[in-house]
């Protein structure tokens, strides 16, 4: 997909190659590449709204978007909140301090209560894989998966795609390396679809305890050597090393981890001269990413955040902005 011919003269939309038929956004596994391109395209229009003085359009006026977050996440939740408000939706936040992944009672009962309030969209983040799929079977409104266990984080996958397109104009043929806790990362799993299926040359790197062997299916290269991953890369994406998950250690210590798998200037010099650095956030500075790289001009981490709002606006619009009411 070729990206960003900005300021291009808009053509008549009478020939509509894609019709949005989706009621839910549960994962990119069942998105076609056309659908992913369509969302990015829609996000482009949304971005223009974000450059105005009055950053608001009435497209979702009177519609209710509920953020149902069972895992704490300020940044994703805020991003969805801003996205909804820019579209004039009424956004409501429910945070449920999830204890352990305990009885589904909490999820099902909460869902039914919320559904009774007739929202247009529920945005769900939950520690159990498949939670969004489960929810979508028990509510009547649309469901957007904002991260379910270690399954998928589709909006992140799409915003990563768009962020790369903005800077690199294409994804096909790029060497994109993702480094860190691959095993537990739902971001990686969504990116396999948004980047991998769009033609990127993906490298997944981490200690062997954190990179499942199943990942090497489907044309992805798996390596335990960060230098191999970074060498000649166009995009280097670092993942947060999940301290919270270390019940029985997957690696001996953070010190050892950051020495072997952290990105510093010396290792990054192996990448292409115009390579960019990404990170889904929040960053463990000094562990997976050095301070200077996090703040360098080659980091597009903040662009990812900006892009995230546009992508989420696009999805909210597509689910509830028009087609929504008729199904």
């Amino acid at each position: 997909m070729e990206g960003g011919a900005e300021g291009e003269h808009p053509r008549e939309g009478g020939v509509n190659p894609m019709e949005w038929r989706r009621k839910h956004v549960l994962g990119l596994a069942d998105f076609s590449t056309e659908e992913m391109e369509f969302v990015v395209d829609t996000a482009r229009s949304m971005e223009e709204v974000l450059t105005r003085d009055i950053k608001k359009v009435p497209a979702l006026r009177g519609k209710t978007v509920i953020n149902l977050f069972f895992e704490s996440s300020t940044r994703t939740r805020t991003s969805f909140e801003i996205a909804g408000k820019r579209l004039s939706a009424d956004v409501v936040n429910f945070s449920s301090a999830a204890s352990s992944v305990s009885k589904g009672e909490t999820l099902l009962d909460t869902a039914k209560n919320i559904d009774a309030m007739k929202p247009s969209i529920i945005v769900l983040r939950h520690p159990a894989s498949g939670a969004a799929h489960f929810l979508s079977r028990h509510v009547s409104c649309s469901v957007i998966n904002a991260g379910d266990g270690s399954n998928e984080h589709p909006t992140q996958g799409l915003l990563d795609l768009y962020a790369i397109l903005k800077v690199k104009k294409k994804v096909k043929g790029l060497k994109i390396s993702i480094i860190g806790d691959i095993l537990h990362s739902r971001v990686v799993r969504s990116n396999l679809h948004s980047l991998g299926r769009m033609g990127a040359n993906l490298y997944l790197c981490g200690p062997s305890t954190l990179v499942p062997k199943e990942m090497s299916r489907g044309g992805v290269t798996v390596t335990n050597d960060i230098r191999e991953a970074v060498r000649d890369a166009d995009v280097v994406m670092m993942l947060r090393i999940q301290l919270e998950r270390q019940k029985t250690a997957y690696f001996p210590s953070l010190r050892e981890y950051s020495r072997k798998y952290g990105l510093n200037t010396e290792v990054f010099s192996l990448a292409k001269k115009d390579a960019v650095i990404m990170h889904p956030g929040p960053i463990n500075r000094g562990v997976e990413l050095s301070d200077e790289l996090a703040d360098s001009s080659q980091s597009i981490i903040l662009n990812q955040v900006e892009t995230g709002v546009a992508i989420r606006m696009a999805l909210l619009y597509l689910l509830a902005g028009g087609y929504g009411a008729s199904h």
């Binding site: 808009p10 949005w20 229009s45 223009e48 709204v49 359009v57 497209a59």
Partner: protein
């Protein structure tokens, strides 16, 4: 959609003459090109606004600013549309404050598109006034909206459509009137 009646209302020459007349009317009413800004409504109004911009340039020797606005996010009938309104682009790369903004569209029908366009414009700034130029006015207004400059009045039945082709070379532009199956929106 195979059509029985397909009547050419304006051929390329006819469109060109009408655009010239509208341009002269705009310049006359506003006493020149100062303070004028053109905003075409996507999609049909955009090439028309560019055509008007070009004619002003050749008549007055002045380049008036021109932009375009996509009103999809401002529609009041999204849920009823029955088809997927694809987003286009809005680009107004100049300030509209204190400008006389001339909205340009191809067909004026119920008036809802114009209402949405005005809502969008207000979010961009505070123009001195807003005027409306349309190539065709086909009647059936549902809101109290009128055009300042009209290329041609074409009274129509509800089941007829006006087809405005303003793509490609100006030599290929034309306006046709045809019967159609209802329900495809404006």
């Amino acid at each position: 959609m195979k059509k029985s009646g397909k009547k050419v209302i304006l051929d390329a020459k006819g469109v060109d003459r009408v655009v010239s007349r509208i341009t002269h009317e705009i310049l006359e009413k506003n006493r020149g090109a100062e303070e004028i800004a053109l905003v075409g409504i996507c999609s049909g109004g955009v090439p028309l606004s560019r055509a008007i911009q070009k004619k002003i340039r050749s008549i007055e020797g002045v380049e008036v600013p021109a932009g375009y606005v996509d009103i999809t996010l401002y529609r009041d009938d999204l849920s009823r549309a029955g088809y997927q309104p694809r987003l286009k682009r809005t680009e107004i790369p100049f300030s509209i404050d204190d400008k006389k903004v001339v909205l340009v569209d191809d067909v004026l029908f119920t008036g809802r598109t114009i209402r949405a366009a005005m809502d969008a414009l207000i979010d961009f700034g505070r123009p001195k006034n807003i005027q409306l130029a349309v190539l065709i006015d086909r009647g059936h207004r549902e809101l109290p909206i009128r055009a300042d400059y009209v290329g041609r009045n074409v009274p129509t039945a509800r089941n007829e459509t006006i087809g405005v082709i303003v793509e490609g070379e100006p030599e290929e532009w034309k306006v046709v009137l045809k019967e159609s199956t209802p329900g495809k929106g404006e």
